[in-house]
Structures are given as structure tokens and as C-alpha cells.
């Protein structure tokens, strides 16, 4: 798909920066096709090249599409059948998630059990694409051109989720987590149960914001504050601490661009000019919800 977009970008004379677009989508195609054959260092150079081109050298292409009037006429003519491919995606995704993990070919699982959800989603998308092409008979190049229209609108943000995952990996080998845990335990006054609960819940949220993932924050904060203080010293219930602690982390997920899958990808998919637009409307929910979690944990954890 990205190779097709690259080729069409190169021929798009309306875009003054068409070489930049073609190089970006082309390198992305290389990454998806040959990424596993390239060494780590070559992949690293590829990432740096994508970053440089994405930040400085991309324009907006002008692919062929339909006008608003044509779309309204088509919407009337097609009726609700137009929803069919869109509904196929969740239908296949859920059916695939429930069944793919159990299918076995010659004793080996057909799909990697850890990636079943994503594989099912991809399957749903491909089936929906086939259904849309069969049903609506668009021109042969239309899927690529329409894909290019949306990909150009998203632009460099398309590699943001993967780049943030890479940053998380560098943070991990640089032991950023341990450093944050040390600050949390040495600099905070944790002599009172309430202080421990506040530090644990707020720490989960803040650490999740830094790492972009509550799963990375949970082991660090729970080992630093949760188990030694809330459970051992003050006699709290580990189940309540764990459940509400994780959900405090999710409040942080709502408020950080590091959780790119949930916050940046949708902003790009919805073509919001402000990449933080989704985060902005989620923060006023995240803050009161974190306070609720602190109150909930403080009132419940020492009672059960």
C-alpha cells in the first residue's frame, strides 16, 4: 500500500514537494517489506531519515477523488448498503478475535496468540476492502488514490506511534523507570496512609504519562510504594490496591501524547489540525477521575 502511494506521489505534479512525499512513503514501504532483513543499525538510520524527511520535506498531494455533489448523489443511490463494508470491519475483527486463537494447523496455532486482536482487525479491513471494491466497482487505482489522500492528510504523524514505542525502548534500557521510582520513594513524605495512597495513584498516572503505558508504570510503582507501604506497613488489601492503581494509570493514559495509539492516531485519523485535540478534551475527565480513584482507594483499601 505504501509503495503504491509512493509511486503515485512521485507523479503528482501539483505537489511541489512530491519528491519528499515519495521518499517518505517509499522508505515506509521498505520498512514494512524488508525491516526484518535490515540490521538494527540500518533500521535506526531509516528511522532518522524518516524523521528528517517527515519533519522538513513533505507537502500535500492532490489525488483524484469525487466532489461533494457526486458523493451526495452516490449516497442516495447506494442507500444503507454503503455501511456494509464499514460494519464488516468490527464484525470480522470480533469473530476473528474469538476464533483465530483456537484454530490450529498441524498442531501449531494458526495465528500468534499475542497478536490475535490485530490480525483479526487486519483481516476485517482486508475483507471490507474486497467487499467495497466488488460492490461499488471503483476505478482500479481508486483504493491507492483514496489511501494517499488520507495518508497525506496524516503526513509525518503516521510514524509517531512506532517512534514513541522506540523512545520507550531507549527509556527502558537507560533505566528511566528505576530513576523515577527512586525519586518517588526518596523525595516524598510517605509516613501517613493517605500520603502513600496519593503518591501511589498520582505516581501511577504521572509515570504512565511519561512512559505512555500503564503496564510499564505498574510494576515500578507497585514495587516502590504499593506493596511495601500500602500493603505491608499500613495493612491495605492488595486486590483493591492493584485494581484501582492500574485504573489510576489509565487516567494518565488519557492525558499523554506518549500513548500515541489512543490519542495521536485518532487525532490523525480524524484529520484534526491539533495533534493534541483528543488529549485536550480528555484531560477534564482524567483529573476528576484520578481524584475519585484516590478517594476510592483510601476509603476501601484499608477496610477489606
Amino acid at each position: 500500500m505504501f509503495a503504491g502511494i509512493a509511486v503515485r506521489s512521485l507523479g503528482d505534479r501539483a505537489n511541489r514537494r512530491r519528491c519528499g512525499n515519495a521518499a517518505f512513503w517509499g522508505l515506509l514501504a521498505v520498512s514494512f517489506l524488508f525491516g526484518s532483513e535490515l540490521g538494527d543499525l540500518a533500521n535506526g538510520v531509516l528511522v532518522l531519515a524518516l524523521t528528517a524527511i517527515g519533519a522538513f520535506a513533505m507537502g500535500l498531494g492532490s489525488p483524484k477523488t469525487t466532489s461533494v455533489a457526486q458523493r451526495e448523489a452516490s449516497a442516495r443511490a447506494r442507500g444503507n448498503a454503503i455501511f456494509m463494508p464499514a460494519l464488516l470491519i468490527p464484525a470480522v475483527a470480533i469473530a476473528g478475535t474469538l476464533t483465530l486463537g483456537k484454530l490450529r494447523v498441524g498442531g501449531a496455532p494458526l495465528a500468534d496468540p499475542k497478536q490475535v486482536t490485530l490480525i483479526a482487525l487486519a483481516l476485517g479491513i482486508i475483507i471490507a476492502l474486497i467487499a467495497a471494491v466488488v460492490r461499488f466497482r471503483p476505478p482500479a487505482l481508486a483504493p491507492v488514490e483514496e489511501g494517499r489522500r488520507l495518508a497525506d492528510a496524516i503526513g509525518w504523524a503516521i510514524i509517531l506511534p512506532q517512534l514513541l514505542a522506540s523512545l520507550g525502548a531507549v527509556f527502558a534500557i537507560s533505566r528511566v523507570g528505576a530513576a523515577v521510582g527512586r525519586i518517588a520513594t526518596t523525595w516524598l513524605p510517605l509516613g501517613h496512609p493517605l500520603a502513600a495512597v496519593v503518591a501511589y495513584c498520582a505516581g501511577m498516572a504521572l509515570f504512565t504519562m511519561v512512559m505512555g503505558n500503564a503496564f510499564a508504570a505498574f510494576p515500578v510503582m507497585t514495587a516502590a510504594i504499593g506493596v511495601p507501604l500500602i500493603v505491608h506497613r499500613f495493612g491495605g488489601d492488595p486486590a483493591i490496591m492493584g485494581a484501582v492503581g492500574m485504573l489510576s494509570g489509565f487516567c494518565g493514559t488519557l492525558a499523554t501524547p506518549m500513548a500515541a495509539n489512543y490519542n495521536i492516531v485518532p487525532a490523525a485519523l480524524l484529520e484534526l489540525p491539533d495533534r493534541n485535540g483528543v488529549i485536550r478534551v480528555q484531560i477534564p475527565t482524567a483529573i476528576p477521575l484520578l481524584l475519585c480513584n484516590i478517594v476510592l482507594m483510601y476509603t476501601l483499601v484499608f477496610r477489606f
Binding site: M1, S31, L38, G44, V45, I82, S166, F218, L272, C292
Partner: protein
Amino acid sequence: MSLWPLLGIVVLVAGFAAGINPLIVIVAAALTTGVAAGLSPLHIIAALGKAYNDSRYVSIIWLVLPVIGLLEREGLQERARMLIARVRAATVGRLLIAYLVLRQVTAALGLTSLCGQAQTVRPLIAPMAEAAAEIRMGSISSRIRYLIRAYAASADNVGAFFGEDIFIAVSSILLIKGFLQQSGYDIAPLRLSLWAIPTALMAFAIHGLRLWRLDARLKRLAREERS
């Protein structure tokens, strides 16, 4: 253990705050943290490359672009508008509250992949919410349109995050159980799920209230823009 690796976080926050292109900020933060932790630049670039390559699966979501593009070409958003026009009671707030309920309940039943930003929000929910606003208020400015889209995405996130932990076999519950087991506490996943319910109710109350008040807020914004 040194605190210097935290410099990368400082670079990240300062870079985002200064409005520099996020790609540049992220690479700079990675280099800063890596160097502060005593890694060689080549080692850091290789680590970036390896993690980038290993996380390619997150980009599967972009496969959806040609499908959405094709359907839009055939008038998907226009049809969503016609459909929502027939439901008289539909407002942006009510529609998104209904979606929040659907998302949270299905996630609590373990059907997390039934809905999602690519599956439902972009092709269906966001166009319907925009249509509901247009029917109530006439033409809407792009600022209001973007705000509605952002709220549609937020309903999906809040519903998914604070619904899925009620389902006992979800990965976060298994992580909590696994970690507490290492620390010497054997806890049934069902107990963890039960204690996720109070927060789930609070999340629905808070976000639902904000969505309920969204209609009035949109009307006020539209009035301000006209005057």
C-alpha cells in the same frame, strides 16, 4: 543509580511545549537519555531501529485508510448524515453517550475489538455526530467540527479503558495478578475485576456528564462565532 537519564523527559516536555516537530523532539529525547545513561550514539540508533522494527504491528491500523477513503468517495459521510437526520431525538451529546455505554459494556464483556478508533469512530460515529450537530445548528465551523470529532474519539477511549478491566481475562488484570503473585499474594482475577467496577461507574458518570453538557456548549460556541 544515576538520575541523569531523566534529562530525556525534560527534553520531551520542553520540546513539545516549544511546538517543535514531535518527530525531532522524540529523537532528541532518545539521544539525550541514551547518552546520559552512558550509551554510545550508534548503540542508541541501533536500539531505536530495533524497537521501531519490532513495533511495526501497531501500524496495521493504517491499512484501514484505503477502505475509509473508498467509502468516503462513495458518500459514506453523506449517508450517515441522511440516516441521523431521520432520528429526531439525536444530538451530539446523546449520540456519544449512547456510544460510550455501548463501548464500556461491550469492553466489560470482553468484546474490546468490536469497537475502536479505526473500526467505528472514524467511519461511523464521528460522521454521525457531525451530522447531528449540522441538523440542529445548521452549518458548523471547522473549529466546532474538530471539537465534535475529538469528543467522539474520547468517548471510545474512556469507554474502552474503564470497561475492559471488568472482564477477567484482559491483559491488565493478568499483569496485576502476575505481579502480585511474585510479591507473594495470590488473588483471584474475579476480585480484581469486581474492584474495577466502582471506578468504571465514576468514569461513566464524569464523562457522561461532560457529553451531556456538550450540546449546550456547542450551541454557545456557535452563537459566539456568529456575533
